[in-house]
Symmetry: D2
Subunit: 359 residues, 4 copies
C-alpha cells in the first residue's frame, strides 16, 4: 500500500550545482562548506543492475579547512537510507548547519563529513558486497575512503574515522563495523533496517510472494511500474543479500517456493538467507565489534517499518550475549522523527568524542 | 494472494444426513457410529455477526456404546480450524475410522469424541468469548459439554475430559486450558494459530491495513466479496480478540492508525491487543496449566502460516519459564501434512492415556 | 569466598561530623556544601531487624543555595549499594567535587543532591517495602522526599525530581520508578543488582543453601560472624524480597527445601519469589515506566557480580518488549570501575538535562 | 555442600561376574541376557588422567539372539551419568527387565543395548574428545561401535543405531548427534547436563573458584580428598571442555582470573569456553541434527542440578530457531525420578520405532 511517490521516504531529489552555491546556502562565512565530488568506484564494476561505477558524494569541509592548510581532520561517513541520496542530509536534516553550530559551540572538533549517494534501481545496494548489485561495502571502505584520504587532509587512520547511517544506512554502518574494522572504529546506526527478518520484513509480507512471482523481464517491469514500496525493496534486498548471477531476470534467490499461493520454505536456502543478516553474524564478528571505540544504536518505538525496533532490540541483545560494549537508545518516535535533533544533540557529539584527533 | 476458494484450507462442506447413514459409512458393525446433533448455545446469543445460537456437532460413539447401556465413557472434544467445520475430521482425516482402529487394537479405551462446528462469517470465533463474535469458549465449555454430559453416558468429570484442536482449534484448546481448567484436563494443540502476533500475523502483513481501512458496510462487503484469506481472517481475529461493540461496521479495535499508508501504533491499544494473545497469558494462567493431566503442542516447521511455528516455539518457552510441564513436537511438514497420521499414532493415544477411565 | 572485610565493596566507614567541616573539605568558596541530616522515617518503624526509624543523609547544596535565598532547585536522590553508606559518594567518588565542576562548567544546572544511608545488618533493605526489613521505598519516597521538600528550597514536583543508584541502589532506583512514578520522573541505574535471579544470584550459589540451613539464633549468629559476603547478602534479599513475619529467626521464605544437600524447589513459592524481581514486573509497571522523562541503565561487562550484566541486559529487553523508551549503556569495566567518571561525564548531565527547572 | 558419598548420584558399584549369573538374574528363560565385555579403546590412549585405554561395557542381547543365529539386530547405546557406571542401568533402573517386557509385549523389536562405562577420576569425560581426559567421543563412536559391529550380529548401519543418555550421558548423546551423524541417527537425551553454562554450572557457583585456585598437586589432592561434588565435577568439565596440556596440575583453562576473591572474566577465553557448549553449537551442527531420524530431550522441572532444566529449554529453543525437528518433554520430577518408567514407557518405544529394522 505504500506507493513510492508517497511512501514517506525522506528526501526529494535535489541538485547540488557547485560548492560556491552551497557555501552561499550556509549563509555564514564562519561555517564550513559543502562540495560535491565524483569518485571512481571500481568495486561497483560489472554489477548487473547497471549502476554506474562512480560514486557521487557531498563533502562537508569544516570552517578552518581552508584557512589552516597544514591541519588534518577526522572524518565521519554518513550513509543515507533506501530510495534516498545525500540530499536528505543536506536539505532535510540540514547537517551542514548542524555541524557549523556544533563546531562553533565547541561541542565537536572540526571534522570532515562525507555523504555518498548509494541508491540503485531498487532503492539501494545496502552498502554490501554483491555480484549482482555491486560491491558497495568495498566501494565505501576502499574506493571512497581512499579517495577522501588522498584528496583531503584527513587523519587517515581507523581511529579517526567513523561511519553513521540511517535506516538502510544504519544497516550499512553496522555491516561495515562487522566486516571492515580496520577502516572504521566508531559507529552509530540510527533506526537501522534489516538486522533481522521479521514483521514487515518477514515472508508474511505479501511483497515477498509478489517479488518472487516475477519470472520474466515484462513482469519485472510491471512490478517496477507499479511503484509499490515493499516489492521493489524486496528486490533490493534479494539482489544485495541473496544474489544469484545465474537467475535472471531478478538475479536473486528467494528462500521459498510458492505453491498454490502458499509459501514452501526450503531449509538449506533459508539457512543461507538468514545467515546473511546481522543478528546471525554478531558471533562471528564479535572481536571486530568489541574493538570498536564506539558502537551505538538508536530506534524509535513507533517506527513505521515494524521490523526496525524489534530487529534493533534483538541485535542489542546479541551484542550483550557476546559481551560487546555498546549503547542502545530506545525512544518514542517514528522512522523520521527526531533524526535531525538526535544527530545534533546526541549522535555527532558522541561520535566525535570517540574519534582520535591527534595534536 | 490467498483466495478463499483456493486457500488450501482443509475440508469441503459435507452433509451428514443421519446417524444411520454414518454407521453404514463406517461399513463395520464392530466400529463406532457418528451422529449429528444441534445444541442450544445461549452463550452465543446477541453476537453481532449473526451467528446462530445453536451449535452443530458430530459425535462419535464408540463400538460398545449401545451394547453396554450401563457403561460410561471419557470424552474428547475436537476443534476444527478457520473456515472449516466438522467435515474436516470426518471426511478429510477420517477420524471415525482412526478411532475404530485404535479401539480395536487396544491402543485407546472406548471413548466419545465430540466435533463441534465453530465457523462464522469471518472463518470462526476462535473459541473465545467476545461480545461481538459471541462467547464461543462458554458455548463449548458450558453449553456443549453440558449437553453431552446430559444426553450421553459420559464420565462427567474434568479428569475424563480432553480437548484437542488444530490451527484455530489448537488455539481454542489452549485457550480453554488456560481459562477453563475445571472443565478440561488434557489438551493437545496441533499447529495452533494465534499464540503470538508475528510473521504473517504481524501488522507487517498488508491485510491488517486493508481490514482497518474498512469504514462502512459497502467497503466491508467489498472486502468479503474479494475473498482474500488474510483480510477476512483479520476481521475474525479483531472481532474475537479485540472486540468493540461501539465501532461499526467491523465492531473491532485495531491497535494502530494508518496515516498516509503507514502504520502508527498506539501504545495503550497495542498493550491491550497483545495482552489477549497466549504468549502473554501463560504467567497468569500458570496454575491452571500446571494442573493439567496432559498438555502438548505439535507443529510442522514448514507451516504455510509462518507465525504458527514461531508462536508455538515461543509458547513452549514461556511454559518452560513458568515451570509448566508439557510436550512439544517439532516435525518436518506443513500445516496439513501428517495431521491424520499424528492423530492416530501420537495424539489420540497420548490423550487417551492421560484421561481418567474409572472402573 | 568473599569475606566482608575484603569483599571489595566500595566505601570504608566515614564520619561526617558537621556541615562546616564538610564545607571546609570542598576547599572552595565557590563550590557547594554538604550537610548531614537525620530524618524521621516512620516507614521503618516496627521492622524486625532493629534498624532505627531514622534516616541519615548527606545533602549537597549547590553554590548559590545560600546566596540566592528565593531560588528553588531540582533534586537528585543518590542511592548507595549493599554494605555501603553515603560515604561512598563523598569520599570514594567525590560527588560534591564532581557537582561543583559540572555546575561551574555549565554542564548541569544548580541542583540539590540527597544521599541517604540505607544499610542494615544484612547490608541493606534494597529500598523496598518489607514488614521484616522495613518499608524502605516509603522511607525514601515519602519520609525523605517530604523532609527535603519541607526543609529545603526545592521544586517539589515529580518533574524536577530524579533518583540515581548504584548496585543495590540501582535496583532501588528502578523499583522506585516502577512503583512511585508520582515521585520520581528521571532514573539512572548504574550496575543495578537483583533484576533477575540468575548466575551468582541463582540457587546454584551455595550461599542460598547455607542461609536456608539457619534454623535458630545461634546458627544465624555463626553465619553473621563468619562474615562471608553472599550468605549475608542472601539474608538481606530474603528479608526484603520474600519476608515472612512468622518465620524466625530469619523471617524470610526460601522458595526451596533442602533434602540431603539437594535443592527441592516448590512451584508456588518459587512463583511468588520470582514475581518480586524486576524482569517479571516490567509488564505490570509499563505505564509507569513509559511516563518517565528519562530511564537509563548502565553496566560493565566485567562486573564481579555475574548476575548484574545478564540481569541488566534482560531488563532492557523486557523494556523493549513492552515498548518502553530507555537508554542502555554496556561498557568494558567491572562493578566499580568507571563509576565516578560515568557519573561526571554521562549520568549527571543526562539526568540533569531531563529534569524540569522552571524559570 | 554435596559430598560425593551422599551426593545422590545414582548407582552403587556393582560387580557383574558372569553372563550366566545375569541370565539367572532375569529369572526368565524367555528374556534376554547381559554380558560384560572389555573393549580396546585406542582413542583414550595418552590421556593425562590415567584413565585406562580399555572400555568396559555391559551388553544386552535380546531373547532370540542365540536361537536365531542368522538374524541381525539394531543397536542402542546407553550412556550413564557422572560418577556412575553401567550398574546404574542394570541394578537401579533394571533396564534388562524393561527390555524383556517391551520385547515380550511387542512394544519394541528385539534389539541389542550396549552400556559402556565412561567414568574417570573426575566423574567422567563427558563423551567428548579431549587431549587431557581422552577422546571419549571417538572411543564410543569408533572403538566401541566398531567392536560391537564386529563381535555381534548387528545391522551395522547408521539408520539402525541409536544413542540414549542420562545427565552427563544426555550431553554425550547430543554431542554425538551433533558431531557423528554418520554413526547415530536416533537420539534421546534424558535430563542432559551441560547444554548451557548457567545456574549451578555458572561461575556464580563457588566451586569454580575453588577448583581454579588449585595450583599444585597437593592442593589438587586436598580438593579430591574433600569429596565435594561440584569442585570435582568442575575439574571434569574443565578437562573435557577446556583442556590445556600445558597447564598442570589440572591441565585445563579457566576462563577467568580470581583477584581478591572476585572473578575477572577474560573475553577471549570466555568466548572459547562458551563456544564448546551445545547451545552455541546448534547452528554449526544444524544439518547434522536435521538429518536425525529422531531427536528428543526430556527434563524434570525439579531437577536438583538447576542448569539442566534451563539448559534443556534453551537448547530446544535453539533447535527450533534452526528449524530442527525434535521432541521436548518437560515433566514434574527431579533428576532421578521417573527415569526408569520413562525409559520403559516413552524413550525405548520412541527410539525403537525410529530405528530401521531391515527385513
Amino acid at each position: 500500500m505504500w506507493k513510492l511517490l508517497s511512501c514517506g521516504l525522506i528526501s526529494a531529489l535535489i541538485v547540488l550545482s557547485s560548492p560556491d552555491q552551497l557555501l552561499a546556502q550556509t549563509g555564514d562565512q564562519t561555517g564550513g562548506r559543502v562540495i560535491d565530488v565524483d569518485v571512481p568506484a571500481p568495486a561497483l564494476r560489472g554489477n548487473l543492475l547497471n549502476s554506474p561505477s562512480t560514486l557521487s558524494a557531498a563533502i562537508y569541509l569544516p570552517p578552518n579547512y581552508d584557512q589552516q592548510p597544514d591541519r588534518s581532520f577526522p572524518v565521519v561517513y554518513l550513509l543515507h537510507g533506501i530510495f534516498d541520496d545525500y540530499g536528505v542530509w543536506i536539505e532535510n536534516f540540514e547537517v551542514p548547519s548542524i555541524l557549523d553550530r556544533l563546531i562553533a559551540e565547541g561541542e565537536i572538533p572540526e571534522l570532515i563529513m562525507v555523504m555518498p549517494n548509494a541508491g540503485n534501481r531498487y532503492g539501494g545496494g545496502y552498502y554490501r558486497n554483491s555480484p549482482v548489485s555491486g560491491n558497495w561495502a568495498d566501494a565505501i571502505a576502499d574506493n571512497l575512503v581512499g579517495f577522501v584520504d588522498e584528496q583531503f587532509r584527513t587523519f587517515a587512520d581507523v581511529e579517526s574515522r567513523a561511519v553513521v547511517g540511517h535506516s538502510m544506512g544504519g544497516y550499512g554502518a553496522l555491516n561495515l563495523a562487522m566486516t571492515r574494522p580496520e577502516i572504521f572504529s566508531v559507529v552509530w546506526a540510527l533506526s537501522p533496517c534489516c538486522l533481522a527478518v521479521n514483521d514487515d520484513l518477514s515472508f508474511g509480507n505479501d511483497a515477498w510472494q509478489r517479488a518472487a512471482a516475477v519470472t520474466g523481464p515484462d513482469a519485472l517491469q510491471d512490478l517496477m511500474d507499479d511503484g509499490d514500496f515493499y516489492p521493489i525493496a524486496v528486490l533490493g534486498i534479494v539482489t544485495a543479500f541473496s544474489p544469484d548471477v545465474e537467475a535472471p531476470p531478478i538475479y536473486g534467490d528467494f528462500p521459498f517456493d510458492t505453491v498454490r499461493g502458499e509459501i514452501i520454505l526450503d531449509d538449506a536456502a533459508f539457512d543461507r538467507f538468514l545467515d546473511e543478516f546481522p543478528v546471525r553474524q554478531v558471533r562471528e564478528a564479535r572481536e571486530n565489534l568489541r574493538n570498536m571505540r564506539g558502537l551505538a544504536l538508536g530506534v524509535g518505538l513507533g517506527d513505521q517499518f515494524l521490523h526496525i525496533p524489534t530487529g534493533t532490540l534483538e541485535f542489542s541483545q546479541r551484542l550483550g550475549a557476546e559481551r560487546i560494549p555498546h549503547r542502545l537508545d530506545v525512544y518514542a518516535g517514528d522512522h523520521r522523527q527526531h533524526v535531525g535533533e538526535r544527530l545534533e544533540n546526541i549522535v555527532f557529539p558522541w561520535v566525535a568524542e570517540r574519534l582520535s584527533v591527534p595534536e
